[in-house]
């Protein structure tokens, strides 16, 4: 698309000034903001930033939840030729130091006191940072630090200046070109410092438009924005596509009210990482268990019906009269009310992205009539690479290449992508850029996968993580840790899994149980427990987990490529893996290497065949204090199966 973010805003403000652009729930009421009002606010902010000395090309850090004024601030920065850098609002302060210094950031726009405190903490290490603006003044009345301003004050100053220079914003917007840098996203990086992914207006908007065309999005869509803006998925769905299509973005009241807000808004276009869908499903299942026996039986009966006919129905296949009738009754009694309860009554297009989704989970949503699909993409590709067409959603593939994308598979199995949405480069990091972006325009995704017979892309794992078993009975077999971990995580009782096997004679995994799901399971069996650590080591829980592991093994045995990745031994960890302890990335992916170092004794014990092992681990609490957890962990063997198709 040959345009820029601020120009799109200008178009909406001129062509449909009275239509709603944003809604925010405040004081119990959805408060709308029209495109005209948004434009005016952006105008005032732009004047304010200009007066404060924001120059073309300056980077501005944005930290906070989805708030209308943060959106306006990003637009104002972009209108002035600046580059917003959204950062994760739940990161600890020290994680902001690198991005701020790397991009020599002078300006920051943050949501509230919590974020202000974090930036003030690191200010001594960030000499360049001179202006911090906050949206919500609560608790900040008595902060007297130099360089701390409220957005109210900024808007107020800008308002006065805007009256003096009416043509200023239009001139600034005209000066902004599609090939200028529009935004920068720091990737969470599993090793080393994060890298700043530089995107232009053209690259982000090209992909946003391609996605919108693919799903025929209109300006009548309703979207609920609740994932961090620093995640490119959220940024594309609720910012780039919002401006492309001109639909309404709804900002929830608070992080805790999302399920309530979802019901009230009834989004038509919805996206979330798998864990959100999983959380919702777990909730439904737990509540169903508490329902009266009649309701429970009705639910289970019609869910079986839904699993039989629902996916076929979504894929547009013919269903017999009996099936249609049964499904119709189910829709009336169960699926309809359930969709309504989840807030999905109006969902026309739903996406899961960010990670692989479990087949049961995926099928559940499609079975009850929600058009849930998968897509493939990354920060570097501005999300849209592959998308699943409405009638061809599969749990194990990620769809077909969408318009404007070329895909090829390299000899080592790596997927290469070429599109107009590729990153301009990594910020101040030409070596890293050269590693992923070849001169002829191919981006190396570092994902291993292949295109199946129907032209759908299937992802196996990260290229660098795909390894080989060495020694033992499966010598030389292919090992894809993430593939194994995902299969485990698809069970509701297992929250996280870390698999090891590359260069070793067998596959061993360390697991986290899902405290809610297993806790509930235990309560139903009158199994008392004192907390996570205690529950995790119960013999009954180990048996439960063993079942899951052996099911995965049976499943893997049927896979020609990965039959050798079956799990020989496992243990359940004594503490939940946590991003604050550096064990997960901010997007909740396991940092396998880090965990192997930290829990070295456990890994050794697994491979040495011990049956139990003592461990003590330091933990960081949310309020910054630290403590330690210790436990003696059980280590358990799991049955493996002979590969299907070979003599048993």
């Amino acid at each position: 698309m040959n345009t820029t973010f601020p120009r799109l805003l200008q178009n909406h403000a001129q062509s449909r000034p009275g239509d709603d652009a944003l809604r925010e729930k405040e004081y119990g009421i959805w408060q709308p903001m029209s495109w005209a009002a948004l434009y005016t606010q952006v105008n005032h902010m732009a004047h304010g930033f200009h007066l404060a000395g924001l120059a073309r090309g300056d980077h501005v850090v944005v930290v906070g939840a989805n708030r209308p004024r943060l959106y306006a601030a990003m637009l104002a920065v972009q209108a002035l030729g600046g580059v917003p850098i959204p950062l994760y609002q739940d990161a600890v302060a020290t994680e902001y130091v690198f991005p701020i210094n790397n991009a020599e950031v002078r300006f920051a726009v943050v949501e509230n006191q919590e974020q202000v405190d974090k930036l003030l903490d690191i200010q001594p290490d960030c000499a360049s940072l001179t202006h911090v603006y906050y949206d919500d003044p609560r608790g900040l009345r008595n902060y007297k630090q130099a360089g701390l301003f409220s957005l109210d004050a900024l808007v107020h100053e800008g308002e006065n200046a805007a009256a003096q220079a009416p043509g200023f914003l239009s001139a600034q917007i005209d000066a902004c070109q599609p090939d200028d840098v529009a935004a920068m996203f720091f990737t969470s990086g599993t090793t080393g410092n994060p890298k700043g992914v530089v995107h232009t207006h053209r690259s982000l908007l090209d992909r946003a438009q391609a996605g919108a065309d693919f799903d025929h999005l209109t300006n009548r869509e309703e979207v609920l924005a609740y994932m961090p803006l620093a995640w490119i998925g959220q940024n594309i769905f609720s910012y780039a596509q919002w401006l492309c299509c001109g639909y309404v973005v709804n900002c929830p009241e608070s992080a805790e009210t999302i399920t309530i807000d979802l019901k009230e808004v009834g989004p038509t276009y919805y996206f979330a990482p798998p864990r959100v869908f999983e959380g919702l499903l777990t909730n439904v299942m737990i509540r169903m268990e508490d329902a009266s026996p009649l309701k429970r039986r009705l639910f289970h009966f019609f869910m079986d019906v839904a699993r039989t006919y629902g996916p076929k129905r979504m894929d547009g296949e013919a269903i017999g009269l009996w099936g249609r009738l049964l499904y119709g009754v189910g829709d009336l009694l169960i699926y309809g009310p359930l969709r309504n309860n989840l807030g999905f009554s109006r969902v026309r297009v739903g996406y899961t992205a960010g990670e692989a989704i479990g087949p049961d989970l995926f099928t559940f949503y499609r079975a009850i009539g929600i058009n849930l699909k998968q897509l493939y993409g990354s920060t570097e590709t501005a999300v849209f690479v592959c998308l699943q067409p409405d009638n061809q959603a599969r749990a194990d593939t990620v769809g077909v290449p969408c318009a404007g994308v070329e895909i090829k598979v390299a000899d080592n199995g790596e997927i290469l992508v070429k599109s107009a949405g590729l990153l301009k480069g990594y910020f101040k990091n030409p070596e890293a850029t050269a590693e992923v972006l070849t001169a002829d325009g191919w981006y190396h995704t570092s994902d291993a996968g292949f295109l199946d017979a129907h032209g759908h892309l299937k992802i196996i794992d990260r290229v660098k993580d795909v390894g080989r078993i060495q020694g033992g009975s499966n010598d030389g077999a292919m090992f894809a840790p993430k593939y194994v971990e995902n299969k485990l995580k698809f069970f509701q009782y297992i929250k996280e899994a870390v698999a090891y096997g590359d260069g070793r004679d067998k596959v061993c995994v360390m697991l986290n149980i899902d405290f809610d799901a297993v806790g509930n399971w235990a309560e139903r069996r009158n199994l008392p427990y004192a907390g996570y650590t205690d529950l995790a080591q119960k013999a009954e829980v180990y048996q439960l987990v063993l079942d899951c592991v052996e099911k995965v093994n049976a499943d893997l045995a049927a896979d020609q490529l990965l039959a050798g990745s079956q799990i020989s031994r496992f243990l359940v960890l004594h503490k939940e893996l946590d991003a604050d302890d550096g064990e997960l990335t901010r997007t909740n992916k396991v940092r396998r290497g880090f965990i192997a170092d930290k829990y070295g004794v456990l890994v050794t014990a697994l491979y040495e065949g011990k049956t139990q092992q003592f461990i003590e681990t330091a933990v960081k609490f949310e309020d910054g204090r630290s403590g330690s957890v210790s436990a003696t962990l059980k280590l358990m063997d799991a049955t493996t199966f002979a590969p299907v198709g070979q003599a048993a």
Partner: protein, 260 residues
């Protein structure tokens, strides 16, 4: 903190309270300045709650006067106290368990409603407009106390820490000048206590509300109060800043016992 502590707003003079032969309070005097956080501490049975009940008009002391904003009373009338701008929370919570959070806080607005029961029942124009205005204020309190997710939840279903917060919300709905908090942190875990501390400090900071609180947890009291009164067996044994009180030998012996 830069909020300006003003003149004496509440002055308690020589209060004595007896229940038959039991001397709950003897000859207690202290003052509370505008915008400050004033704590009353003491071991069990020291007379802390009795003191609050005297200020609040629940008990009538046999001796002494209470001066509030220049007016002197020998006994306070609870309704009149509320009209004058003194609100309180209760140690054992006094919420309507079956009613939603919203409705509970709305009851705190009762005093400020002008329309009568009949007008409200038939939703007469002025009554409805008034309700909307009050609802707005209640929503601001809900936002302030961060209890939006529980707006429509019956209070009885909430965990204890949140119920305490609703209790505080109901007191705030009165838009009080002086807030009396009876053990706001009793029975809470560390995290809930920290939250509650923050809310008390924020109330004091944002609305300029004078806070008189009774608390058991010495750590909390010392952290957030400007001045502390210490009671023991119905007598005042200390009064001053947290530091002064902490070093007062009588207080130390009351709390830790004396060496013999």
């Amino acid at each position: 903190m830069s909020r300006d502590i003003g003149d004496v707003i509440l002055d308690v003079n020589n209060i004595s309270l007896r229940f038959g032969g039991v001397k709950a309070l003897s000859d207690i005097s202290f003052d509370v300045r505008e915008h400050e956080i004033r704590a009353i501490i003491g071991p069990n049975g020291a007379g802390k709650s009795s003191m609050l009940n005297c200020i609040n008009g629940v008990y009538t002391p046999q001796q002494g006067q209470i001066t509030f904003r220049g007016q002197t009373f020998s006994h306070m009338d609870s309704h009149q106290v509320a009209v004058m701008g003194v609100a309180r929370t209760f140690q054992n919570l006094a919420l309507f368990k079956g009613m939603s959070v919203l409705d509970n806080i709305m009851t705190g607005r009762n005093l400020r409603m002008k329309s009568n029961l009949f007008m409200q029942a038939i939703r007469l124009g002025p009554a409805e407009r008034e309700e909307i205005a009050h609802r707005k204020r209640v929503e601001e309190i809900i936002d302030f106390l961060e209890i939006q997710p529980y707006r429509k939840t019956p209070v009885g279903q909430l965990p204890y820490g949140l119920q305490k917060r609703v209790d505080l919300g109901r007191a705030l709905a009165l838009e009080p000048q002086v807030l009396l908090l009876d053990e706001p942190m009793a029975g809470m875990n560390v995290e809930e206590k920290q939250d509650m501390c923050r809310f008390i400090l924020d109330v004091n900071d944002e609305f300029g509300t004078t806070v008189v609180l009774i608390e058991h947890d010495m750590g909390v009291v010392m952290d957030i109060s400007d001045r502390v009164v210490v009671l023991d067996y119905g007598k005042k044994i200390g009064d001053g800043t947290p530091d002064e009180v902490r070093n007062n030998p009588e207080v130390i012996s009351a709390y830790l016992g004396t060496g013999h």
